[in-house]
Symmetry: C2
Subunit: 289 residues, 2 copies
């Protein structure tokens, strides 16, 4: 299969979703995709790498699982912004072992996941590579000025998580919290998705907001997961978010925002370590922090 033929096939697979996206003026097949924004909306953009040997192993996931997961990671970021998914671009570097069957399965999984959430595949790039590497850029829309950010948590807010943690155990499937994210718009003061573990991600949210978090109960756990896994292992793709005490939002209450040291997170009165899933931890000196 040569590049032209592969692009044609992907175009056919992507067509049904692309047709439903009214804002997509031009999809796969030109130098660039063309999108006509709706008035009164901001657009949010995220991109996530999915690398063989780092985020997945060749025999650890089926091709379709890999495709769903590559897409799910980006959709989870749109959920964390409270956005309605619009379209995505997919860049794929293919190792020699990735044959036609694998590539077909990968795009079936990826496009199936995108379609479920109304996200049209609008373009991308293809290349060879020594290992399979996929970068998914996803764009979503949210009412002007209403995107959920990390830096809005205020003293007195309640902290919630959207579901059971310890997710690296079910490395297969991600269920992006799109519907929840959209419900939180106008209610939550801050939100982000949990990809690197509650301890590290909540540190980031609190650092951005200039506040401290006091966790006063253990988060809900997946069956078989430990509290350490829920705090530090990552790969949950649930949301963590804050809302004023008087505002009703769905989710599991795990603590509250307090005055204190920006970024500090405590559990039952003890500070949590800031580690989680991090790249490059062992490379060179760490600079100051």
């Amino acid at each position: 299969m040569n590049e032209l033929e592969l692009v044609k096939r992907i175009g056919r697979w992507a067509r049904p979703g692309a047709k439903r996206a009214r804002e997509l003026i031009e999809g796969i097949g030109d130098d660039a995709a063309v999108w006509r924004p709706r008035a009164g909306e901001d657009l949010v953009f995220t991109t996530d790498l999915f690398v063989e040997g780092v985020h997945f192993r060749r025999r650890g996931l089926t091709a379709e699982e890999a495709g769903r997961r590559a897409m799910g990671r980006s959709l989870s970021d749109l959920a964390a912004m409270g956005a309605r998914p619009g379209f995505c671009l997919v860049s794929l570097g293919l190792a020699r072992w990735a044959d036609q069957e694998w590539v077909g399965g990968f795009f079936r999984g990826l496009i199936g996941m995108a379609d479920r959430f109304g996200c049209a595949l609008a373009g991308g790039d293809l290349s060879e590579a020594r290992v399979v590497v996929c970068d998914v850029m996803a764009c979503g829309a949210v009412k002007k000025g209403m995107a959920l950010r990390r830096d809005g948590a205020r003293v007195g807010d309640v902290i919630y998580v959207s579901g059971a943690l310890g997710g690296w155990r079910r490395r297969g499937e991600i269920e992006p919290r799109i519907a929840l994210g959209r419900k939180l718009v106008g209610k939550a003061t801050a939100a982000m998705d949990l990809s690197d573990g509650l301890a590290l991600d909540l540190y980031r949210l609190c650092a951005a907001s200039g506040v401290e978090a006091r966790l006063d109960r253990a988060p809900p756990l997946l069956e078989g997961a430990t509290i350490e896994e829920a705090l530090h292992a990552g790969e949950d793709y649930e949301l963590v978010y804050t809302a004023p005490a008087g505002v009703r939002v769905p989710g599991h209450r795990v603590g509250e925002i307090v005055k204190g040291k920006a970024g500090r997170v405590t559990l039952m009165g003890r500070p949590l370590e800031r580690h989680g899933y991090e790249h490059f931890e062992s490379r060179g000196d760490s600079g100051s922090d």
Copy 2:
């Protein structure tokens, strides 16, 4: 250097450009970037992979050259659409050999190139990888309905190229034709950028437009380049475009659009082969075309 620290540094390097982009509501540091589109404009989106061992070799380019080139490839696609650059997202997978110095040089080169064309670095993703791999998604804006496409070439149009070809010889630097692309809006009937060679790229333009191209003179060549290189070697990053005979546009006239077989390209009466720089040519069966 760990991931958090690297993200902070990149945020500092990107800040001047991000501040100038008024539409950029939220840049590096949240789950996603937030962009507020101007009324009356379409947005165009492109993404380009830049892979070690495929698009560059470790010792073949300096870190800054690699960064400029990764960015230049995506800007060239925006030029081909007639778009004003807006922002970009950069995903970077880092091999172990890529130390702090290399990463710093790479981002200096990339951000420098982006800044020259008013393109703000708004976010991205970082990961480890077996080889260095960079995916640059660039977004630009163009007046509603006015993006230059591939499929508008009409019989009688004149075919132009924007500069001397045979560009793979100067693998170092790309000069994206942003200013030219913007001038062509409302004048050119079709345009694309030359990344895979005039023969293959013009085939794509003609196939999309349902027309045939008759090249009646050799394109301008870089010093030392052969006509075969100009036709098939790729890596030019000039524009090829068509305009009605009565419309004055800058550029070098190389031929005209004629009635005939969709996608066919002839030079001095002989059909050109459709090959150029293509990935996966040797992989599996080729299917029908």
